[in-house]
C-alpha cells in the first residue's frame, strides 16, 4: 500500500524529479514536472494531516531500519500543519512561476531553475518530516543550497551578492546547528530526536546540553531571520526572481520556526529552555526589537520589495513573540501566524511579481498611478496589506487576536499595547502604497504596463482570497495550530 509510505513520499518525489529535469533539458517539461510534484506533495501532506488530526503520531522507518538506529520520519500534528503549508505554497507558486520565470530568467536556464525549485521543496519538506537530528541538518543544507542558487538567478546583478551573503550567513547558521546536534549526540549517544528527548533528563553534565541549546538557538535564529540576525533577508528577497521571493518568504523562515519549536519543546523541554534559561525574556526582547525596528526601517524604503522584506522581519518578530510566552495561547498564536503570514506575504510578493514582470525594479517613484493600469493587482496588494495591519476579516487579525490574548493572559498589558502599536506602523507603509498607486498620475512607463498574465493573477488571487477566507473562517487553521501547540506542550517536561 502506497499510503504507508506517505511520510517519505512527499520528499522522495521531488528528489527523483530533479535529475529527470536535468536530463530532459527542457523548460516546459521541467515546469510540468515541478507542478505535478508540488501538487502530489500537497495531496500527500493533506492525507497525513488528516491522519494525525486526532493527536496520533505516524512513525516511518527509512529503509526499514528501526529507530533509534535508523532514520525515522515522524509526523505529528505540528509538522503535518507545516507540511500542508509548504506544499500548498509550492503548488500555488508553481502555477505562478510559469510566466514569471519566463520573463525574469534566461530561457536556457529554465529547466535548471525548476530543478532547484523541486530540490528546495524536497529540502523543506524533509526538514519538516524528519525525526532525526542529522537528517534535519542534511535537508536544511539541501534547501539552503538550492535557495542560494534560486536567489542568484535574479535579473539584477545585486542578486549575486545577495546570494553570496546569504550563503555565508546561512552556512554559518547551519554549521552552528550541526555543532548543536553534535553536542547533543555526544551527550546522549543518539541522533533520533524522540530518543534524545527521552535520554536528556538522565544526562548529569548539563553544560554541554546548554551549550548545544545556545548553538542551536543562534543557528536557527540566523535561518529564521530574527533580529539582529536578519541582515541577509532584505537583499535576498528584493533581488531574487519574484517567484523565488514569494516561495521563500512564505516557507523558508516558517520551517526554521518549526525547527526551533521542535528542539525547544520536543527535545529539550520547557523546563530546560524556559525555566532554567531566560529564553523567554531573550526572545521577547529580540521580538520587540524586530517588530518595531524592522517596521520603522520598512517605512523609509524606496524599493517596494525591500519594504515588504523588512515587513517580513517584523512579522517574524510576532511569531517569536508568541513563542516567548510559553503558553498554549502564545504557541497557538505563533503557529497560526506561520500560516497566516505565509498566505499574506506569498500573496504580496506574487502580486508585486506581476508588477515587476515588465517594470523590473519596483520603486515608489516608478509606480505612481499603478491602480489605473493594474487595478486587480493593486487591489490585491491593498487587501494583503490590510491583512498585514490586522484588520478584522483578514488572517492577520486572527494572529493579532491570539497574540494580544496571550499577552493579557500573561498579565502583560503593556505588551498588548506594544503589539497593537506596532500594527499601526504597518498602516503607515501599507498606506504609502495606497497613496502612490491610487492617487498619482501614471507616468509614461506605468501607462505602458498591462495587468499581469492570467496564470499569475489567478495564483496571486488564490492567496489573497485565502487571506480573507481564513480570516473569516479561521476554525481550521486555529484548530490545527491549537492542536499543534497542545502536542508541543504535552510532550514538554
Amino acid at each position: 500500500m502506497i499510503s504507508q509510505h506517505y511520510p517519505v513520499l512527499h520528499v522522495v518525489l521531488p528528489l527523483i524529479a530533479a535529475p529527470v529535469m536535468v536530463l530532459a533539458r527542457h523548460g516546459g517539461i521541467a515546469w510540468l514536472l515541478a507542478t505535478a510534484v508540488s501538487w502530489s506533495s500537497l495531496a500527500v501532506s493533506v492525507a497525513l494531516f488528516a491522519q494525525v488530526a486526532d493527536g496520533s503520531v505516524v512513525s516511518y522507518a527509512i529503509g526499514n531500519w528501526a529507530p533509534p538506529w535508523g532514520i525515522e520520519y515522524r509526523i505529528d500534528s505540528v509538522n503535518a500543519f507545516l507540511l500542508v503549508l509548504v506544499s500548498l505554497i509550492a503548488s500555488v507558486v508553481a502555477i505562478y512561476s510559469r510566466e514569471s520565470v519566463a520573463a525574469e530568467v534566461p530561457r536556457e536556464q529554465h529547466y535548471l531553475f525548476y530543478t532547484m525549485y523541486v530540490l528546495c521543496l524536497a529540502g523543506l519538506l524533509g526538514i519538516a518530516a524528519t525525526g532525526d537530528g542529522f537528517n534535519l541538518f542534511v535537508f536544511l543544507e539541501i534547501s539552503s543550497l538550492s535557495s542560494y542558487v534560486l536567489i542568484a538567478l535574479g535579473r539584477d546583478r545585486r542578486a549575486l551578492m545577495a546570494s553570496y551573503q546569504y550563503l555565508i550567513m546561512g552556512t554559518i547558521g547551519a554549521t552552528f546547528i550541526v555543532i548543536g546536534v553534535g553536542l547533543l549526540f555526544l551527550m546522549t549517544g543518539t541522533l533520533n530526536l524522540a530518543d534524545m528527548a527521552a535520554r536528556l533528563p538522565g544526562v548529569t553534565e548539563t553544560r554541554p546540553v546548554l551549550a548545544a541549546l545556545a548553538f542551536l538557538t543562534v543557528g536557527i535564529c540566523l535561518k529564521l531571520a530574527l533580529f539582529p540576525l536578519h541582515l541577509w533577508l532584505p537583499n535576498a528577497y528584493a533581488y531574487a526572481p519574484s517567484a523565488v521571493t514569494a516561495f521563500l518568504a512564505a516557507t523558508a523562515t516558517k520551517v526554521s520556526v518549526y525547527v526551533l519549536l521542535r528542539f525547544y519543546y520536543t527535545v529539550f523541554g520547557e523546563s530546560v529552555v524556559f525555566a532554567a534559561l531566560p529564553m523567554g525574556g531573550i526572545l521577547l526582547a529580540l521580538s520587540l526589537a524586530a517588530m518595531f525596528i524592522a517596521s520603522t526601517i520598512a517605512i523609509f524604503q524606496d524599493d517596494v520589495k525591500r519594504l515588504f522584506a523588512y515587513s517580513s522581519v517584523a512579522q517574524i518578530g510576532y511569531i517569536t513573540l508568541g513563542i516567548s510566552f510559553d503558553s498554549a495561547t502564545g504557541l497557538t498564536a505563533a503557529i497560526v501566524h506561520l500560516f497566516n503570514h505565509a498566505l499574506t506575504k506569498g500573496a504580496l510578493f506574487m502580486l508585486l511579481g506581476g508588477v515587476a514582470l515588465h517594470l523590473g525594479r519596483i520603486r515608489f517613484r516608478d509606480i505612481g498611478g499603478l491602480a489605473r493600469v493594474m487595478p486587480l493587482t493593486s487591489f490585491g496588494v491593498v487587501l494583503a496589506g490590510l491583512s498585514l495591519i490586522g484588520v478584522p476579516g483578514t488572517v492577520g487579525f486572527v494572529s493579532k487576536w491570539y497574540l494580544v490574548l496571550a499577552a493579557l493572559e500573561a498579565g502583560a498589558g503593556w505588551l498588548a499595547a506594544l503589539i497593537v502599536l506596532s500594527s499601526l506602523l504597518a498602516v503607515v507603509y501599507v498606506w504609502r502604497f495606497v497613496e502612490v498607486a491610487y492617487f498619482r498620475e501614471p507616468s509614461e512607463a506605468v501607462s505602458r504596463l498591462k495587468e499581469a498574465p492570467p496564470s499569475m493573477l489567478a495564483a496571486s488571487w488564490v492567496m489573497v482570497v485565502g487571506c480573507v477566507y481564513f480570516g473569516l473562517d479561521a476554525s481550521t487553521t486555529v484548530g490545527g495550530a491549537a492542536q499543534a501547540a497542545a502536542t508541543l506542550l504535552g510532550i514538554g517536561r
Binding site: F137, L145, L160, Y164, T171, I172, I179, L191, F300, Q301
Partner: protein, 122 residues
C-alpha cells in the same frame, strides 16, 4: 580528564574561531569562502575525535575485543564533508559570476559600484 586531555576540543575551538575570523575580517570573497571551509572543518573534528574511545579498536567485530570505536561520527562527517564541498563549489561559482558582473572580488569595491541603497522618496 585533565584540561590538556581535552586537546581535541581546544584545537576545534581554535580552528573554528580562525575560520570565523577570516569570514568576518577579510573582504576578498574567495578568502571568505576559505574561512568558511576552515570553520566547517572544525566541526568535523568536533564529531570525530570523541568517536575514538579510549582503548577502543576499529569498528569491525573480532574475537577478544569488547570496546569498539564509534563508526557513526565518521559516517555523519562524510555527509558533512559532501555538504561542505557543495557549499564551497556553489560559493566559488557565485564568485566567478560576481567577477564577471562587477570586475572585482573585493567586497568593498563591489558594494561601492552599485548606487547607494534606496532611501525615502522625495
Amino acid at each position: 580528564m585533565t584540561v590538556a586531555g581535552h586537546y581535541s576540543y581546544w584545537i576545534t575551538i581554535v580552528i573554528a574561531m580562525a575560520g570565523l575570523y577570516i569570514v568576518i575580517a577579510r573582504g576578498n570573497l574567495v578568502k571568505k569562502l576559505v574561512g568558511l571551509a576552515i570553520f566547517q572543518t572544525s566541526v568535523y573534528l568536533l564529531y570525530i575525535a570523541p568517536g575514538k574511545l579510549i582503548g577502543g579498536t576499529a569498528p569491525i567485530v573480532a574475537e577478544g575485543f569488547a570496546v569498539y570505536s564509534n563508526p557513526l561520527p565518521h559516517v555523519l562527517i562524510l555527509t558533512a564533508i559532501v555538504v561542505g564541498v557543495a557549499t564551497l563549489a556553489l560559493g566559488l561559482a557565485l564568485v566567478v559570476r560576481i567577477k564577471e558582473a562587477y570586475g572585482s572580488i573585493e567586497e568593498d569595491e563591489i558594494l561601492g559600484q552599485d548606487p547607494a541603497p534606496p532611501g525615502r522618496t522625495p
